[in-house]
Structure formats: structure tokens, C-alpha cells
């Protein structure tokens, strides 16, 4: 039945064997117009999108959970700082002297504040990422402060929104090590939530978003900053006689662009808060509220940049 008389393409296919894989890093990056030594400031090198090898806060679209450490609750999140001078490029391995994720920055700041409040003169000397924890190494000016710093760990968990904080002190180097364990999975696992926003809004978000910021970060910042004015977003209208509500057909005729999909990663608690807000402020659905929040945040960032 089959036709063996034909010349098979396989006879013509005599490729060389696969070579060895090129070890990472696979690139010889041509220097970009980025000066890492320059003093960071708005619109300069430190604003740039993380370069190859740097780990962004959120992974690709296939992931359904956000990496630990980025989960936040809208109502408990601290106001977004516009101080960009702390933004740095991350290094994949080894200790760093500056935190690279928003959560680590928050933890480091909170830790140093608590130590200062306790009368301990301390400064951050290293940050290490572990799969379920972050290690913050803090240098102490006086060796007698070591035990006090270690004792402080017991009360730090709540401040740092962590499941547990362990501390140790090395007398020789005068370094106190704080290992911050993030909250265990279930309750804090951020899940992907699709929302639909007009394409213009998505484009505008892409223009104003900070390079190191995820869409989720952008949403959380918008939620925090505009929560107070949300009541005015969707005023309740009295039902009155009038024309029929516009149908999709009419919308098409008016050439209003159809929405595009975006996604945010929210913990169940954050999602519930969002849903409560949708109901409370009469937004109708999550997408409508998020779209409006994005518009407000875009406006305020543009205003801040001009």
C-alpha cells in the first residue's frame, strides 16, 4: 500500500549532530545606553526596565500564582513611594546590599525603623533571597546591641507581615541576621484574575507604569491612592424614562474599541476587598472598577511627571 519507491526526504537530511548548549549567560550584551554608576533619579538609568538576568517581580503569563513576597492586601498596603532612588538592578546570586523587590524594601525599612526605635544603631549590609524567605543582614554599630536586636525578632513578624522571623547575631562581624519567612501558602497565594480594559487604557498603563512595577503593583497602588474618591466614580442614577441602554451594536457603530484582556494577581483577601468595593461603589463589575482606577492613576502619574 505504501509507496517505498519515492526518495525519502530523510536521505537528504544529514545534519551535523547538536553541539553543546551554550552555558548561561548566553549573550555578549552590547553595552546599552545605561550607566549603572550614574546617580539614580527620575528618568535615568535606575528607571530602566530590568536587564537580562534580572528577575522581575512577576513571572510569565502561564504562572497562576505570584511569587511569594509580592502578595499584598489593598487596605494594608503602604502608600506607594515615588522615591525612585532606591530602585536598583538585581544580581541573580549572592548577597546584595540593596533590596530588589518592593516587599524586601518594605521589610528592610520596617526592620531598620524598629531597630532605630529600640535605640539600636543599624544599617543594612546584605539581602539574600531564599525560596520561602528573605535574609536581611544588618550591621550593628555597637556589639552590645546584638542581644537586643535578636530579642526584637519575636515581635517583628506582625510588623513585617511574615509568618515567622528568626534572628541570630555574629559577635565577630557585628552582623545580626534576620530571616523573614513569608506567610504559608494557602491564604496568601495570589491567583491570576482576568480583567477587561479598553485598549487605550492598557496602552496608557504601559506608558506610565514604572519599569520595575507589575500591573498588579500598579493596580494595588491605584486602589490605595484612590480608595477615598471611589465613591464618586460610579454615581447612582435614578431610574427614569429615556432611551434604551446602548447595545454592543451601537457601541460598535460609535467605534468604541472593544476591551482587551489584562490580568492581576490577587490573594483571596485582596479579591474579596475588590469585590466589596465593586458592590459598595456600584461599579457593576471588577473590570469597570479597575478600568476607572487605572484611569485615575494614569492621570495622577502624568500630573506628577509634568
Amino acid at each position: 500500500m505504501s509507496n517505498p519507491s519515492r526518495t525519502s526526504w530523510r536521505e537528504k537530511f544529514t545534519p551535523p549532530p547538536p553541539p553543546d548548549l551554550i552555558p548561561v549567560p548566553a549573550v555578549a550584551v552590547v553595552p546599552a545606553a545605561v550607566d549603572d554608576d550614574a546617580e539614580p533619579g527620575p528618568g535615568t538609568a535606575s528607571d530602566s526596565i530590568p536587564l537580562a538576568g534580572e528577575q522581575p517581580a512577576s513571572s510569565g503569563p502561564e504562572d497562576t500564582t505570584e511569587p511569594e513576597g509580592t502578595a499584598r492586601t489593598p487596605e494594608t498596603r503602604a502608600p506607594r513611594s515615588r522615591d525612585r532612588s532606591r530602585a536598583v538592578h538585581s544580581v541573580p546570586d549572592g548577597p546584595q546590599t540593596t533590596p530588589t523587590t518592593a516587599r524586601d524594601r518594605g521589610s528592610a525599612t520596617a526592620l531598620l525603623t524598629r531597630l532605630t526605635d529600640a535605640g539600636v544603631d543599624a544599617h543594612l549590609v546584605g539581602v539574600r533571597q531564599r525560596s520561602r524567605s528573605t535574609i536581611l543582614d544588618v550591621g550593628l554599630a555597637r556589639s552590645q546591641d546584638g542581644p537586643a536586636a535578636v530579642q526584637l525578632a519575636e515581635t517583628l513578624a506582625e510588623t513585617l507581615q511574615a509568618a515567622e522571623v528568626r534572628a541570630s547575631y555574629d559577635q565577630d562581624t557585628k552582623v545580626a541576621r534576620f530571616q523573614v519567612f513569608t506567610a504559608p501558602a494557602e491564604a496568601d497565594t495570589a491567583r491570576k484574575h482576568m480583567v477587561y480594559v479598553p485598549i487605550e487604557v492598557r496602552d496608557a498603563v504601559s506608558y506610565v507604569i514604572d519599569p520595575e512595577e507589575t500591573v498588579t503593583d500598579f493596580f494595588l497602588a491605584a486602589f490605595n491612592e484612590h480608595y477615598d474618591s471611589m465613591a464618586s466614580f460610579f454615581p447612582r442614577r435614578r431610574v427614569a424614562p429615556g432611551p434604551m441602554p446602548q447595545t454592543p451594536k451601537l457601541r460598535r457603530r460609535r467605534q468604541v474599541a472593544s476591551p482587551v484582556q489584562m490580568w492581576v494577581y490577587l490573594t483571596p483577601q485582596q479579591r474579596d476587598t475588590l469585590d466589596d468595593a465593586v458592590e459598595e461603589f456600584n461599579a457593576g463589575n471588577r473590570s469597570a472598577l479597575i478600568t476607572r482606577l487605572f484611569q485615575e492613576e494614569i492621570s495622577s502619574r502624568r500630573a506628577a511627571n509634568t
Binding site: 525519502s8 526526504w9 537528504k12 548561561v24 552590547v30 530602566s48 526596565i49 530590568p50 522581575p56 510569565g60
Partner: protein, 308 residues
């Protein structure tokens, strides 16, 4: 520059870029290479050739756009064929062009964004094949700045050869950012097998236009519409179509004999393009020549590096 990465490009559309990308990547994967195919084309036609269009992993270029925009690690669709992963293209990729000035404002070289997006995963692959869009200058440029080699498919018509010259301008510009970029060769695509005079003329024009910087591959892809269309409609590469359908199909004489007095049985009802083995053979020859060219060039570069 991403090592062992090849951009398939021509400023003219319809010259076989996507087909060539799919087949070179697919055949390299057949030869046990780990291959990453990257679709930079907003039309996203690579998904049709490799049959992942509309699948769960097909994000229509959103992942690639966000990787470019935010510097995130791109997440390819794994194993669309054994050993072949794909970074999807689609309408979202077009939005990258709007970000060009944004990158510049933020002190980021707008031409290196693709390289930066692919660099974290490049080490997992023996070969990266990038399909470039025809019209978009910026997308073509980020492809040129990410790749080590360029392959240029061209047809015999003047417009295709003009497209080749258009690419030459972009190539010169890209070399300022990516000095390691090399033109691996030109592929004659969709040329009549018996049109030897035309073939000779086209080769002469290419040589006149590009000098000796661009060797023309000996292997060429002839114009055989039926197997090309049939394979693409089935989401198969031509060699897969030939191997899985045509080679197993009965010869036309058997088909005719058995269908004479009765309705043809189910196995004979499948219409197959009998010339598929010729087209598959062309792609196989070209892939062999292409892989040999890449590997021998790599050895030359290694020897030159060792000597210096």
C-alpha cells in the same frame, strides 16, 4: 547578541519567511537540537504552520510584549514538537513599536529589548530561529540586534529583490548596535524547478546587489503549492505531512483501481499531494546546508577566538 540565533528576514512580505522559520526550526528539532522559534510577526502565522494557533498557550504575543516591555523572562510554549519551543507572536507584538520612544526616554536601548527578553532562556537551546515581520522596521531592527545570523528568503521577482536590498540597509544600521551580526545566506524560495535560466539570473542579481557578503544557499525551495497548502491546512510541516500522510497513502494506481467500482475506502478518501516528498526534500537539503553553515561558522569563530 544571542549566540546561534538566526533571524529569517526580508522587507518584502510573502517571500516564505514564516514557512522557512517553521521548517528550519522543525527539522533542526527532528535532528535532536533543542530549538526555540520566536514569532515576531504581528500576524502570528507561525502558529498556523506549527499548529498551536488558538491553543491554550497561544497568548497572541502578549507574553512577548510584556517580556520586551517589562524586561520579564519570556515564557515559551513548550514542545510544540519534540525539542521545539515557541515564543508566540500575534497582534500584541505590534504594540512594541509604540514603546520605542518610551524605552529611549528611560535610558534603555530600544534595539536591545528582544535580546534582553530572550537572554535568560537562550542557554536552554542549541538554536534560536526568529521569524521577522515584513513591514515593521522597528520589529525587524530588534530582531537584527538580537540575532547572530540572518537568512534572507527571496523569490525571483523584482519586488522581492528590492525587499532584500531594503533589508541590507537595516542590516548596516543594526551592525552599529550588533557588530557580530552576519548574513548567513540567501535562500531562493518558491522558484520553479525547471526555471534554470531564471534561477541563474536571480543568483546573478543577488551577487550584483550584495557582492560576496551573502552566499546563496545551494539548496532552494521550489514552487509546489499543493503540498505547501495541504500541509499548512493540517498544521503540519511538509516533512511531517509527507511522512505521516503521503508516504503511507496508496499510490495513485492503487487508488484508482480500488475506487473504480466502489466508493473509495476511508484510507483512500484522504486527499494527499503526491509531490510532498519533493518539497520535503528541498527543506531537508536546505536545513542540512543551513545547520552545517551555522556549525562551521561557529568553529571558525572559535578557532579565530582561540588564535587571538
Amino acid at each position: 547578541m544571542l549566540r546561534r540565533s538566526i533571524l529569517v528576514s526580508n522587507s518584502k512580505g510573502g517571500v516564505g519567511k514564516t514557512s522557512l522559520t517553521a521548517h528550519l526550526a522543525g527539522l533542526a528539532a527532528e535532528a535532536n537540537y533543542r530549538v526555540l522559534a520566536v514569532d515576531l510577526d504581528p500576524q502570528g502565522n507561525l502558529g498556523r504552520d506549527l499548529n498551536y494557533l488558538g491553543s491554550d498557550g497561544d497568548d497572541r504575543g502578549q507574553g512577548l510584549l510584556e517580556a520586551i516591555q517589562f524586561g520579564r523572562e519570556v515564557t515559551p510554549i513548550r514542545d510544540v514538537r519534540p525539542g521545539l519551543d515557541v515564543v508566540c507572536g500575534g497582534p500584541f507584538v505590534e504594540d512594541a513599536t509604540k514603546l520605542e520612544t518610551n524605552f529611549s526616554k528611560r535610558g534603555r536601548d530600544p534595539h536591545l529589548v528582544l535580546e534582553q527578553a530572550l537572554a535568560p532562556i537562550a542557554g536552554q537551546y542549541h538554536l534560536i530561529v526568529i521569524d521577522s515581520p515584513p513591514g515593521d522596521r522597528y520589529l525587524q531592527m530588534i530582531g537584527l540586534c538580537a540575532a547572530q545570523y540572518v537568512i534572507v528568503p527571496t523569490r525571483s521577482d523584482e519586488a522581492s529583490l528590492d525587499g532584500l536590498n531594503g533589508l541590507a540597509d537595516a542590516f548596516v544600521q543594526a551592525r552599529e548596535t550588533n557588530p557580530a551580526l552576519e548574513l548567513l545566506g540567501v535562500v531562493l524560495f518558491g522558484i520553479g524547478a525547471s526555471a534554470t535560466v531564471i534561477q541563474r539570473e536571480v543568483r546573478a542579481k543577488i551577487a550584483a546587489g550584495l557582492g560576496d557578503v551573502a552566499p546563496v544557499f545551494t539548496a532552494q525551495i521550489r514552487y509546489l503549492e499543493a503540498p505547501a497548502v495541504e500541509a499548512r491546512n493540517r498544521g503540519m510541516l511538509v516533512h511531517e505531512y509527507e511522512r505521516d500522510l503521503v508516504a503511507k497513502a496508496p499510490r495513485w494506481i492503487d487508488r484508482k483501481r480500488r475506487g473504480k467500482h466502489h466508493a473509495p475506502p476511508a484510507d483512500l478518501a484522504v486527499r494527499v499531494a503526491p509531490t510532498a516528498h519533493k518539497l520535503a526534500g528541498d527543506y531537508a537539503e536546505l536545513a542540512t546546508e543551513f545547520l552545517n553553515a551555522v556549525m562551521s561558522r561557529e568553529q571558525q569563530l572559535a578557532a579565530a577566538g582561540g588564535a587571538s
